[in-house]
């Protein structure tokens, strides 16, 4: 797989490689820590973890800047981190604290940061793609040069909203990249059963856009496909569908007994893990040293420790906050 490295190595200088690694490591440590903390009973609600899928959000968002917007899913922590949402505010949101990204009113499934172009994790499967068509339309009408990226899962790839949004994006030629994150299961339903096509990417021509399937464990593969798609969208060349394939490391939600799958997670962790393969490749090619990468690991670990500690100490919203922010005026 290392043969793709030289293609992108010229674009990804040392700083950007470190950034990408830091983002993936931050997502991984964030999710593993949430997994541990959830088990203590201190984190309420539904929590869906992105561990295993880091290369997707990171490889795509590496091409985005402040002009660009993304929509996300119920499994949205990785997208938030990759788009630059403050990790401490995210953790506080998950703990339901007043200092959270949404002041404790959103929770894990609804973390948003409009100042970062992050239009929200989304509790509705398939809710995001239409929103991102609108964001892309706004970018087009306001001539910002911005693009929109809709992250959605294999489950959402069967929702009418996603298909409507793909058609609309092509009909209007708005700058959107559709990223179908196929982790094999919509909750417990296998995508090999629920998607009536050989792949999700195969649906792209039906909506007048190119489609490609990439190895979602391979940061460089995602980065390259996304680079081409984002560039095309930004240049007015229309939308693209990228299907990213991988395995999620945890259950659909925390507490999921995962009776629907066997040893695939252990195999993926051992043989295909995106962080492990990223490290091997940048070290083998002499671009980054183990020491630099380990230093990032330590910094990220510290950040996550602080995020959890601060979240636990942070004030909870009070009943006085109940009716704020329902309307601008009423």
């Amino acid at each position: 797989m290392t043969e793709t490295l030289p293609v992108t190595a010229g674009v990804l200088d040392e700083r950007r490689l470190l950034d990408a690694y830091r983002t993936m490591r931050t997502i991984r440590m964030f999710e593993e820590r949430v997994h541990e903390e959830f088990a203590t009973g201190e984190i309420p609600g539904f929590v869906h973890l992105y561990a295993g899928e880091e290369a997707s959000a990171t490889g795509v968002c590496a091409h985005l800047d402040e002009r660009d917007a993304i929509s996300s899913t119920h499994r949205g922590h990785g997208h938030c981190i990759a788009k630059g949402v403050d990790v401490k505010a995210m953790m506080a949101e998950i703990y339901g604290r007043a200092t959270g990204s949404c002041h404790g009113k959103g929770g894990s499934m609804h973390i948003a940061d409009l100042s970062k172009g992050m239009l929200g994790a989304n509790g509705i499967v398939g809710g995001g793609p239409p929103l991102i068509c609108g964001a892309a339309l706004a970018a087009k009408l306001q001539n910002t040069g911005g693009v929109g990226v809709a992250f959605f899962g294999d489950g959402a790839s069967n929702q009418g909203t996603t298909l409507e949004a793909m058609n609309l994006a092509s009909v209007w030629n708005v700058p959107v990249v559709f990223v179908a994150e196929n982790n094999g299961y919509a909750e417990a339903t296998a995508s090999s059963w629920s998607v009536a096509a050989d792949s999700i990417a195969d649906r792209a021509p039906a909506f007048g856009m190119p489609g490609v399937t990439v190895d979602g464990f391979d940061f460089f593969a995602v980065y390259e496909a996304a680079g081409e798609a984002v560039e095309r969208a930004r240049a007015g060349g229309g939308p693209t569908l990228i299907e990213v394939e991988f395995t999620r490391y945890f259950g659909h939600f925390e507490g999921d007994q995962q009776t629907y799958r066997t040893d695939e997670v252990a195999r993926a962790r051992a043989e295909r893990d995106c962080l492990r393969s990223f490290r091997a490749r940048v070290m083998d090619s002499g671009l980054l040293s183990a020491e630099r990468l380990d230093e990032v690991d330590r910094e990220v670990a510290l950040l996550i420790d602080r995020a959890v500690a601060e979240a636990k100490e942070a004030p909870k919203p009070t009943a006085a906050d109940l009716e704020t922010d329902v309307y601008i005026s009423y």
């Binding site: 404790g104 809710g127 929103l131 009408l141 009418g160 909203t161 609309l168 601008i328």
Partner: protein
């Protein structure tokens, strides 16, 4: 003042708001080349171009969601849903997204979007094209629901809706598009959202309606005046926010109330109004509050059946007279 139709009032207001604010644009099925199924957007594509008058595929949830996304990023989309019946195809984006994004994200961004859509039966369009389901949206915190009954209100309330920073469902009515009324020529009246209007003062009974039934209520009041019955008419105009004060104040004065509504009776808008009256004017009531609503059936196609199902001037008059008889005022 000019006398123009409800349809013209909507069109001229859209035009004026698009000239006033570059961020206002239109999205909907058949609104551009076809100029709208009910011709509200006639001439607007020619005037403003396809950047701002955007025809869509038939994909209600997709294009309503698109409007929401654009509104989140600072534009002011005005969506036309061909009829409120088709809003059911977009209800997730309306209820789970437009209504919640401001609060759920902790006040980060509002959704300054308007969904214009007509409801109403009486045109023999059958069960799927004749509903009055504004209640679904009036139920949801985060949404505003406006329902003008006159051309003047259509203009001033649409202007208010477009300028408002919250998502607004703007209910029109198939039976009102050709109705005529006075609209100020200077064209800059902005209604206060959430205000009902006492459109006719009276002393014997309060008759409450909105949209088409506010017009019917006026006709009822005029007719009963011939029998020396003084009916006070309250046009709700806004279903959310609901102007409880105006309703309660009127009933405190007259001592009895009839609600006329085009939606179904059970759990309908009238049920909320009746609850409002008993909470705010219980001691002033001389008779039970009556509701006149559509028959609890999928609206049939054949004219005699459709007519039998819809509330009318006659059915409202009957309810008003029965209520006045109940308080001891024999009105025949």
């Amino acid at each position: 003042m000019s006398v123009i139709t409800y349809r013209q009032a909507l069109r001229e207001t859209l035009r004026a708001e698009m000239h006033r604010d570059e961020d206002v644009f239109l999205i909907g099925e058949e609104i551009g080349i076809f100029e709208g199924s009910y011709k509200i957007t006639e001439g607007l594509l020619k005037e403003f171009g396809e950047r701002r008058v955007r025809d869509t595929p038939i994909a209600e949830e997709g294009f309503v969601g698109t409007a929401i996304g654009a509104a989140m990023l600072g534009l002011r989309p005005v969506v036309e849903l061909m009829t409120i019946n088709f809003s059911l195809l977009a209800i997730d984006q309306i209820v789970n997204h437009a209504a919640k994004i401001y609060g759920m994200f902790g006040g980060q961004t509002s959704v300054p979007m308007v969904i214009r859509t007509p409801g109403g039966g009486g045109q023999q369009l059958g069960a799927t094209h004749s509903q009055n389901i504004e209640l679904f949206y009036s139920f949801v915190p985060g949404l505003k629901v406006l329902a003008p009954s006159t051309p003047g209100d259509a203009a001033s309330m649409l202007r208010a809706a477009i300028r408002d920073d919250d998502p607004v469902l703007f209910l029109e009515n198939l039976g009102l598009y050709n109705s005529k009324g006075e609209v100020p020529d200077d064209g800059d009246q902005v209604a206060e959202i959430g205000r009902a209007a006492v459109t006719r003062e009276g002393s014997d009974i309060t008759l409450i309606g909105y949209s088409r039934m506010a017009v019917v209520a006026q006709q009822v009041a005029e007719k009963l005046a011939e029998d020396d019955i003084s009916v006070e008419v309250v046009d709700l105009r806004s279903l959310r926010p609901l102007d409880r004060e105006t309703i309660v104040e009127s009933v405190r004065k007259t001592g009895s109330a009839v609600i006329a509504e085009d939606d179904w009776l059970t759990y309908g808008i009238g049920a909320e109004i009746a609850a409002t009256i008993q909470e705010g004017a219980f001691d002033f009531l001389d008779a039970p509050v009556r509701r006149v609503a559509m028959a609890e059936v999928p609206l049939p196609y054949a004219k005699p059946l459709e007519t039998a199902a819809l509330p009318s001037v006659d059915s409202v008059i009957t309810a008003v007279k029965e209520t006045l008889n109940a308080v001891g005022r024999r009105v025949g």
